[in-house]
């Protein structure tokens, strides 16, 4: 199955934030939709430029309750950055003409629940949720 076929059959929940959003704005977006696990940062041209994981954001919010701090975590507590400073610029993605089952291990290798599907301009056209695909695979094997 092609990624494009999957996307047309499965409505996606796009977790997109802008690069100048604060941590508070990002968390509102993340927690506003219980199905969101990964957020993607877009620039002024709507091109995806980075990735924010649920785990990273949760760690930032809960930092003051954590006894274990690296120096960078100390500074993040004092001067919290915006989305562009918090994001990872290296992230896994796929295009709609790829085979669905070939990209799944990319998700597993990068511990990404929501894999972004990008067009040629690097804009987000959908997201593949790992749990959705797993459910489908289990149904097929049954």
């Amino acid at each position: 199955m092609k990624v494009s076929d999957w996307l047309s059959a499965h409505p996606t929940h796009e977790g997109v934030v802008e690069e100048d959003w604060s941590l508070e704005q990002i968390m509102q977006k993340l927690l506003g939709n219980s199905r969101l696990n990964d957020l993607y940062v877009i620039d002024a041209n709507k091109v995806v430029i980075g990735h924010l994981s649920y785990k990273k954001l949760a760690k930032l919010v809960l930092a003051e309750h954590c006894r274990c701090h690296t120096r960078s975590q100390l500074l993040e507590r004092v001067v919290s950055g915006n989305a562009a400073e918090l994001m990872e610029t290296q992230f896994a993605s796929a295009t709609e003409d790829e085979d669905l089952y070939e990209i799944l291990f990319r998700q597993l290798d990068h511990w990404v629940e929501d894999l972004p599907i990008l067009n040629q301009q690097g804009r987000l056209i959908g997201v593949i949720n790992l749990s959705d695909v797993l459910l489908e695979v289990i149904k097929e094997t049954d």
């Binding site: 006894r67 701090h69 120096r71 960078s72 100390l74 004092v78 950055g81």
Partner: protein, 406 residues
């Protein structure tokens, strides 16, 4: 007949004993680094080292140099230019004040009061101790903040200051080393500029290269090899061309974090993963340099360093706070929270053992730093708790026990 144990066996024992005692220390709210040093002290020549002696330290030189470079790389990579711009006058002013305050008071105290040591000029000894005195160890203090749910302006300022001052310490130490290599002050300063310029340039260029290459590598394990390889190349170049290993590694970390244009979690995550094992190996080995005889013979120097550094931190933080316009409670109490000293100080002291002109005296310096580190780490958290309580920023204690990292 005494058995000659393999060095590998002894290093293995050090690692396992350090790991075990480190876990106990964490449960007692003590920094694990202190436990590692204590294990090393237990295996020092006057104690268990009589039976399990490490035959030679020659093989350990590349390990300690690399470990130090990794520590400096992580310190450099924890700060970004954007954060420095936003961090505020108060934190920058106090970090500068307490670092320079400790350095100046320790320098003056040693220059005026310290006895001569093995023919090394007092100026050199004073400068070395002054540079080492700037560093702090946040873990013990962070444990207090966490345990009592500390919150407020003093807490926030403290977090920023302890995150920055080790970087300042490394810069001052590199500067001091370059000045001492020069012989005279004029030539020394000239040499210091060349040394620092080279270290910053090489570190920055290789940092840019590391950040660019990292974009082509997706697997975390390969990213570790890339990062470690670049740290080794930087360290090797610094050793070959005689510029500061610590400063170039710190510049490498800072530059790669800048040029990766992101939080750098992937790039630094791989080396962070290695950090605790590096600490474990480095600080247990550092502890084995402890000698009871040297300790007893130089109690006067230990006391001098101990009190001069505390006075310098208190005065420097207060002056830095006042000049930068900090709130009165920050000016009054912050200095007391900056007493702990551990990892970076021990590392800087140990780096002298391979430095020309310091081979003889480095044993004394390492012993002074190890002895004072142990005392500072017990007193520091108590002083921090007192200061935070007086500033009204302590709340209810927590009961959970987890681990410290720094």
């Amino acid at each position: 007949m005494a058995i000659e144990y393999s060095n590998i066996l002894l290093v293995g024992l050090l690692l396992l004993a350090g790991l075990f005692l480190g876990q106990i220390a964490a449960r007692l709210s003590l920094p694990r680094v202190v436990a590692y040093v204590l294990v090393g002290v237990m295996f020092s020549p006057d104690l268990l080292g009589r039976y399990f002696a490490i035959a030679s330290y020659q093989w350990s030189q590349p390990i300690t140099q690399t470990a130090l470079a990794i520590i400096a790389f992580i310190i450099g990579g924890s700060i970004t230019a954007a954060q420095l711009q936003r961090i505020g006058r108060s934190i920058l002013g106090i970090a500068l004040g307490e670092s320079l305050g400790a350095a100046i008071i320790v320098f003056l105290a040693f220059w005026m009061l310290a006895p001569a040591l093995d023919g090394v000029p007092l100026f050199s000894i004073a400068l070395v101790f002054a540079a080492i005195s700037t560093t702090t160890a946040p873990a013990g203090t962070i444990a207090v903040l966490h345990q009592y749910r500390a919150k407020g302006l003093l807490t926030n300022t403290l977090l920023g200051v302890v995150a920055l001052d080790d970087a300042l310490g490394i810069i001052l130490f590199a500067l001091a080393m370059a000045v001492l290599t020069g012989g005279s002050i004029e030539y020394g300063l000239e040499l210091a500029l060349v040394d620092i310029g080279l270290a910053l340039s090489v570190g920055s260029v290789l940092g840019l290269l590391l950040a660019r290459l990292a974009t082509y590598i997706q697997q975390k394990d390969l990213l570790l090899a890339l990062t470690l390889g670049t740290i080794l190349v930087t360290t090797g170049l610094a050793e070959t061309f005689h510029f500061s290993i610590l400063l170039s590694a710190m510049a490498l970390g800072f530059s790669s974090r800048q040029f990766v244009f992101s939080a750098g979690d992937k790039l630094f995550g791989s080396i962070d993963f290695l950090e605790e094992t590096v600490f474990l190996m480095f600080f247990t080995l550092a502890g084995t340099h402890f000698h009871i005889q040297v300790f007893l013979q130089h109690l006067d120097i230990i006391l001098l360093y101990f009190f001069a550094r505390v006075i310098g931190k208190l005065l420097g933080a207060a002056i830095g706070g006042r000049v930068s316009g900090s709130e009165p409670k920050v000016v009054r109490w912050l200095g007391l929270t900056l007493i702990p000293q551990a990892g970076v100080a021990v590392g800087l002291a140990l780096s002298l053992s391979h430095r020309h002109g310091f081979e003889e005296i480095s044993g004394v310096i390492v012993n002074v730093i190890i002895a004072t580190t142990l005392v500072y780490e017990f007193i520091g958290p108590l002083a921090a708790r007192f200061a935070l309580k007086r500033a009204g920023e302590l709340f209810e204690p927590e009961t959970d026990k987890t681990n410290n990292k720094i």
